[in-house]
């Protein structure tokens, strides 16, 4: 166990599916050679096959008695490649009206956001929502425990899980073991790479890019045990933020406020208040049985806020002051005297 643990809460009722988080992370960390196909932050439409495709069926994590559950390696095509496009040919190739900005090298059949806005169910009762994911920086990290070289480390001071790339030899047991499939393999450098919870920013008191850049104001950041900050209140006090797939046994430190969708319609076309648009069993399959209590709490507090104007929980989720979402990691990056590397 680390001395302290950083955590994140993502409010699915505020997630716009806009991928600003995804792009913020990409631009900051994963543009180098070998990293092009990596998206340490993903947002997928749920229900869906996600990224990598069908990751929930790939195994990993732990059995209820704490044994490693076998997992399989995701293939690159299941993540989706960083397709290249024929920009040159389409605009300078002399093709006239036949110019086509085509994908070079074939016709992909999956990508990191392939099933965007699809979901499940039948019109007019289809349902879907957006699920952003980063590394869960688990308290019981399967990747750390899987590595035969001890190359995946969990930081003592804040619980951030990183790959020691000096030590990693690319054996990829971590990739099979992670049940969330949030470990990536750099095929150029032959090392595993993953979300680092923006530790260089954290070290300077700045929230991770995915959180700080989120225009939907979805993400709360902070230490798990900071009772004065939103994380503790949402996870422990109000218990409306839950880990994804708790049955995987890794004890994630990313928590989700479950989504509430519009009312569903009965067969006659009138509103049917009796059953929620997202079937309870689907949400339970994602967030465990406590999700139903969380939804009930949110509903009750929303009514209370509407009626009285008062609710600590709703005020937290509204986040009147943006900076208060970050548990003290609210420094503006512009004020940071960064280490500048000079020749």
């Amino acid at each position: 166990m680390s001395k302290r643990q950083l955590a994140m809460v993502m409010d699915l009722n505020k997630c716009l599916g806009c991928h600003t988080c995804t792009v913020a992370c990409k631009q900051l960390w994963t543009r180098d050679e070998g990293m092009e196909y990596m998206w340490w932050n993903t947002v997928n439409t749920m229900p869906g096959r996600g990224a990598p495709r069908d990751w929930e069926q790939m195994g990993g994590g732990f059995t209820p008695d704490g044994q490693a559950r076998p997992g399989r390696l995701p293939k690159r095509a299941e993540f989706g490649e960083a397709w290249k496009f024929d920009h040159e040919g389409s605009y300078y190739g002399g093709q006239g009206d036949d110019s086509h900005l085509k994908i070079k090298d074939g016709s992909p059949d999956w990508g990191p956001n392939w099933d965007e806005d699809e979901g499940a169910g039948e019109y007019p009762n289809s349902f879907h929502f957006y699920l952003p994911r980063i590394c869960n920086h688990c308290t019981h990290p399967a990747c750390v425990e899987a590595c035969p070289r001890g190359a995946v480390e969990k930081r003592e001071e804040d619980g951030i899980v990183t790959v020691n790339e000096d030590r990693c030899r690319g054996y990829r047991f971590c990739q099979s073991a992670c049940p969330y499939k949030k470990m990536y393999f750099n095929h150029q450098k032959k090392v595993a790479q993953k979300c680092i919870f923006c530790f260089p920013r954290i070290e300077q008191g700045v929230a991770p890019a995915c959180a700080r850049q989120c225009p939907g104001r979805v993400r709360f950041v902070g230490y798990r045990d900071d009772e004065a900050a939103p994380i503790y209140k949402l996870v422990d006090k109000w218990q409306v933020a839950l880990p994804l797939h708790p049955e995987y046994g890794t004890e994630p430190n990313v928590f989700y406020v479950p989504p509430v969708l519009p009312a569903s319609y009965g067969p006659d076309g009138d509103i049917d208040e009796s059953k929620p648009r997202i079937p309870d069993e689907y949400l339970v399959s994602l967030f465990g049985p406590k999700v139903l209590d969380a939804l009930a709490t949110i509903k009750a507090e929303r009514e209370k806020k509407r009626a009285t104007g008062e609710s600590e929980l709703m005020d937290l989720l509204i986040a009147y002051e943006w900076k208060n979402m970050f548990g003290g990691f609210d420094r503006s990056p512009e004020t940071v005297s960064v280490i500048r590397w000079r020749k």
Binding site: A68, A77, A146, C147, P148, Y171, R172, S176
Partner: protein, 225 residues
């Protein structure tokens, strides 16, 4: 077994696994066994590789030559797939690999890759780093570290359904680490290991040779040509 003395043959000559000198050298077929699942350092590895699932390569032909300055092992084994770890494919396979292991203390345990205070050293070749060898040392499972200071040369050729890999280093090591020190006329304890990439073998998941001397084989470095 013996390391034959071939004075005057330059290192580059030794590194050519298909050179005549190797054809003329005496070789020995050594049986390999899979590393035991129970000895794998993490439960994730053990879960993925239960007993019987490790050890795709069953035997390796070994020949050893030295030129008075450098000593070279030639390892050859049958392998239906050349797994070079080249990028661009789906690439869920792993690169084939091989190593020659040495006991740096006479009682260093082979099965556990050494133990604290009893290091095991190895010269290592991996198909995705073909041409560049690596010298490592370990004092137990999962503790392998690269040791700098000596150049290990390792070059493999895949032909006719098998690998032939030459792994060479100077007899005397320059680095201060716990690595093999060899000299003409002296004996050393060695073993070999092979990883079959298409079976997902990497790290401690490998075939290795279990010899008669506390697990080790003996190597005598010839003094005479």
């Amino acid at each position: 077994m013996k390391a034959g003395y071939v004075p005057g043959v330059p290192l580059q000559g030794l590194l050519d696994a298909q050179a005549d000198i190797w054809r003329q050298a005496s070789s020995q077929v050594i049986e390999l066994m899979g590393a035991p699942s129970g000895l794998q350092p993490t439960s994730a590895v053990r879960a993925q590789f239960p007993d019987g699932a490790i050890g795709a390569v069953k035997q390796v032909s070994v020949a050893v030559l030295h030129n008075g300055g450098e000593l070279a092992f030639r390892l050859a084994w049958r392998d239906a797939t050349a797994d070079t770890g080249a990028d661009g494919q789906d690439d869920v396979g792993f690169p084939d690999a091989a190593a020659v292991l040495f006991a740096t203390r006479s009682n260093a345990p082979l099965m556990t890759m050494g133990a604290p205070g009893l290091p095991v050293s190895a010269w290592y070749w991996r198909a995705d780093e073909n041409g560049r060898g690596r010298q490592v040392t370990a004092e137990g499972l999962g503790t392998t570290q690269t040791v700098h200071g000596d150049q290990v040369h390792a070059r493999g050729v895949y032909a006719d359904g098998g690998w032939a890999v030459v792994i060479a280093r100077s007899l005397r090591a320059q680095s201060a680490g716990a690595v093999a020190q060899l000299e003409m006329g002296a004996a050393a304890s060695f073993s070999v290991a092979v990883w079959e990439g298409s079976h997902g073998e990497r790290a401690g998941v490998k075939s290795f040779a279990l010899g008669p001397l506390g697990g080790w084989h003996e190597l005598v470095v010839d003094r005479k040509a």
